[in-house]
């Protein structure tokens, strides 16, 4: 980006005063810096041109209001433009195979975890003596665990909904465990240990939930276009 090459005409005309030269130069410099927020590939292709166009737009501005409008437009749309460009770059065809892999791994590993948990939950009911220890007090925990595991299975078909439910379930599960152990057995474990247990339980569900939620932004039909 060659900022020095811009010559902004700031001479006053009969329609009103143009912005002073130093303000225009400062704005162009700031704009050049803001372009660094775009992905590198996009910058390499368009940064010089964008800087040219921005300088030309400033040069054409008639009066302070027009000048401010241009600046406002650039600033107001900068975040959304950056998000759009980044999203566009992440949706490039080359990433399709990675999406396919991520979906494959997420689906199968979450399926194994869900089935394992569901089996472990059903097992105590089959053998009541293993469920007897703290079983009733922990019933809410089992219910939460059941529905969170079910949400992961649901995410196979409805990624967005299942992902969000799994995230919610995971966080609730972790919070419940922290509360439960902290309330009923406060002497047995420190606060750090409690947090660790809570996070440990929540983490797999939150991770799978986030993965499913992110994958929901990539249509499943990409599988067939590989």
């Amino acid at each position: 980006m060659r900022i020095e090459s811009f010559k902004v005409n700031t001479r006053p005309n009969n329609r009103g005063l143009r912005a002073s030269k130093w303000i225009a130069s400062l704005l162009i410099r700031l704009y050049a810096h803001s372009l660094r927020l775009y992905p590198a590939a996009f910058r390499a292709d368009f940064a010089d041109e964008m800087l040219d166009v921005f300088a030309m737009t400033l040069r054409e501005a008639r009066g302070t209001l027009a000048f401010l409008t241009i600046v406002w437009r650039e600033v107001a749309y900068l975040p959304i433009n950056i998000i759009c460009v980044r999203q566009q770059k992440s949706e490039a065809p080359t990433s399709s195979i990675n999406v396919w892999r991520a979906r494959h791994v997420t689906r199968w590993s979450s399926m194994i975890l869900s089935l394992f948990i569901l089996y472990s939950l059903i097992n105590p009911f089959v053998s009541p003596q293993t469920f007897a220890i703290d079983g009733l007090r922990l019933s809410l925990f089992f219910v939460l665990l059941f529905f969170t595991s079910l949400s992961m299975l649901l995410a196979w078909r409805w990624e967005r909904l299942g992902g969000l439910l799994t995230i919610g379930g995971g966080i609730t599960l972790g919070a419940f465990l922290i509360f439960y152990i902290g309330y009923f057995r406060p002497a047995e474990i420190s606060l750090i240990g409690l947090s660790f247990i809570g996070i440990l339980w929540a983490l797999p569900f939150v991770t799978f939930g986030v993965m499913f939620y992110l994958l929901s932004q990539y249509p499943v039909r990409q599988l067939t276009t590989l």
């Binding site: 060659r2 090459s5 811009f6 010559k7 704009y31 775009y38 996009f42 292709d45 368009f46 010089d48 041109e49 964008m50 040219d52 166009v53 921005f54 030309m56 737009t57 437009r73 650039e74 107001a76 749309y77 900068l78 959304i80 433009n81 950056i82 759009c84 460009v85 566009q88 490039a92």
Partner: protein, 118 residues
């Protein structure tokens, strides 16, 4: 204004911004600033791109191969080679299809208003 993803391949209508960009370079290739000004004029001042929005749209249209980049033979006074953008064959057919769609929408509206008034 921002230009959302428009996917004509999915049978969706083009966004107004995309339509005007394609229309702007339909006759002859133009550089970014000229496109920006032309779109503003074509849309009677309704669509005013920020530089980022314009180049975001251009980048997407290049990726979709609806437009192509060509080197301008006459460099501007700054001395830097300027890039122009032109419609590709695919871009032409997309634009024609969209014009056809808009004509059919307009025809339906006229028919309905004609029925009501007549």
């Amino acid at each position: 204004m921002t230009d959302k993803q428009s996917t004509k391949q999915d049978g969706q209508p083009l966004t107004e911004a995309t339509f005007f960009i394609l229309l702007s370079i339909a006759q002859k290739p133009k550089h970014g600033y000229a496109i920006m000004k032309d779109v503003e004029s074509l849309s009677s001042g309704r669509i005013k791109f920020s530089t980022g929005t314009l180049y975001g749209a251009i980048s997407r249209l290049l990726e979709q191969e609806w437009i192509e980049q060509i080197e301008n033979d006459q460099p501007p006074d700054a001395g830097r080679p300027r890039k122009d953008y032109a419609l590709t064959d695919k871009g032409h057919s997309i634009l024609n299809a969209e014009v056809g769609r808009l004509e059919s929408v307009l025809a339906s509206a006229r028919l309905r208003f004609g029925e009501e008034n007549g």
